[in-house]
Amino acid sequence: MAEHAVSAKKASEKKGDNYRHKLALSRIGCYIVLAIICFLCLFFFYMLLINSSRNTFQIQQGFSFLPGASFGINLINLLNDANIPVVSGVLNSLIVSSLTACLAVYFSALTAYAIFAYDFKLRNFAFTLILLIMVMPTQISAVGFVNQMEKMGLKDSLIPLFLPAVASPVVAFFMKQYMDSNLPIEIVEAARIDGCSEFRTFNTIVLPMMKPAVAVQAIFAFVGAWNNFFIPALLLDSANKKTLPILIMQLRSADFLKFDMGKVYMLITIAIIPVVIIYFFLSKYIVGGVTTGSVKG
């Protein structure tokens, strides 16, 4: 294989300057297109940040690449707005998202482990079911879900926003895939011989070995819950229970023209930027997490 590669390289070198010239040109073309695409991806978020630091008048003048001086004022104005409970909104969003991430990751790993490590009659059935419901949208059962939560006295509560995360088929599927390529069954067997109970084996041996998958899936679950809009909008009524997307909806349906635009951008910033910050710190793991197949023990 290596010989082929070397000979291929030699052959390509023989093609000479013309080839290299062409390659350099197409490389420049690629970079230009990539630069445009990156600009499109980043421009709106940069404008968001800039506008959250400007006042209404400045914002209406048009775009600027330099920040204004009203960041603090916009933030204070937003925090003092009695109609938009931002602080409780952020806290509610944080509670729901963190609990969703923990529940989804732990119980999905447990579910995946059940299918991975044990031979039982319904095992194939369980895995097939997970694959089948994996991409089924939750909106479809919203009618029954909202009704049922009302009957259970859980309407206008945060519980139905995070408790269903115990059954997250997508997370369970990825955990199962990760176990197949990264978790040697011999370790489980060794633990058994040493007299470790099945539940303890999972908690103290399997779960720590799943760390990379757990981290990536926890981030996805957190972000998914943080951004969730449809179900919370149907369930939450009281002001102190509302999560951030509901506050955004509320802002949108308010009489927009009377609004202090600085405040609007500030709320959007608060909703978006935490995720962006988490992402830029952990992007290595998020993008790389997909290809962690080589850590096999």
Binding site: P137, A142, G144, I185
Partner: protein
Amino acid sequence: MKTPAKASSGTARKKQKHINYSKWGYVFLLPFFITFIIFQLIPLISTIYYSFFKYFRSGLKIIGPIFVGFDNYKSLFHSPDLFNYMGNTMLLWIVGFIPQILISLLLAAWFTNTRLRLRGLRFFKTVIYMPNLIMASAFAMLFFALFSDNGPVNGSLIAMGLIHQPVRFLSTVSGTRGLIIFMNFLMWFGNTTILLMAAILGIDPCLYEAAEIDGASSNQMFWRITIPLIKPIMAYVLITSLIGGLQMFDVPQILTNGTGSPDNTSTTMIMYLNNHMYSKNYGMAGAISTILFIICAILCLLVYKTMTDTDGTKNRTKKRRRTAHG
């Protein structure tokens, strides 16, 4: 290396079969299935159940549930709304999906091209994937603020002297639809690119080396090797994107304040469902949900098929899964 180790683990497990661990499989599956039944299965069944009932609130009075058979479906199919909104949803999806798959393919091909050897790949991947994690409702609110009649986009265009009157983006059909499509494109093309990249990187490099020795050009290699071998992943991307498209809600809902303006031309299926939910007409909402459920069930089956298919690149993961269980 991999296969013998796995196989021996399989036989080792078979030897121990006299110790019965299988009950632990059920115990560990219990939380998942209890939660699934309470929060997903029963609601789904009752949603379908409600679709056969007249069940709505008029004023403060709750009417029903009265069994009406297929009346909800009949009224759904007799009014043009269902077809209009389904049409809107499909239009918004497909016009966004075509450029998305083309650009994603192009980028994935560039990023994996060993001759081009582009630098800064991690940076590019990080940037293009970012919009996918953004809160769709906040993103739509941002676009609404930027593109509103006296927003900064119009401000800039007037200041540059390109226009004299503000462009009323959100009052025109093409403006609103265009913005929704553009937002969906921005949010999803990075995800598709990374999926396709993983698929291309999964192709055996020997194939490219052999083709190179035979004198194949980059273009030939792309069309004759890459494209045929990533077809299963492309099918997966297509179907999951279609399911995502059917769920389109956050962006048009916030952008148009739930009205689907102008004149309901950007009302999607889930917005239609949401409107019935909001007016507490559970019978009609149930009927819409059931129709969507049938469509999604078919699509879910297709996804299942692409993931367990016996030909193509997925083949290898499937085989690995099989040997892992002996």
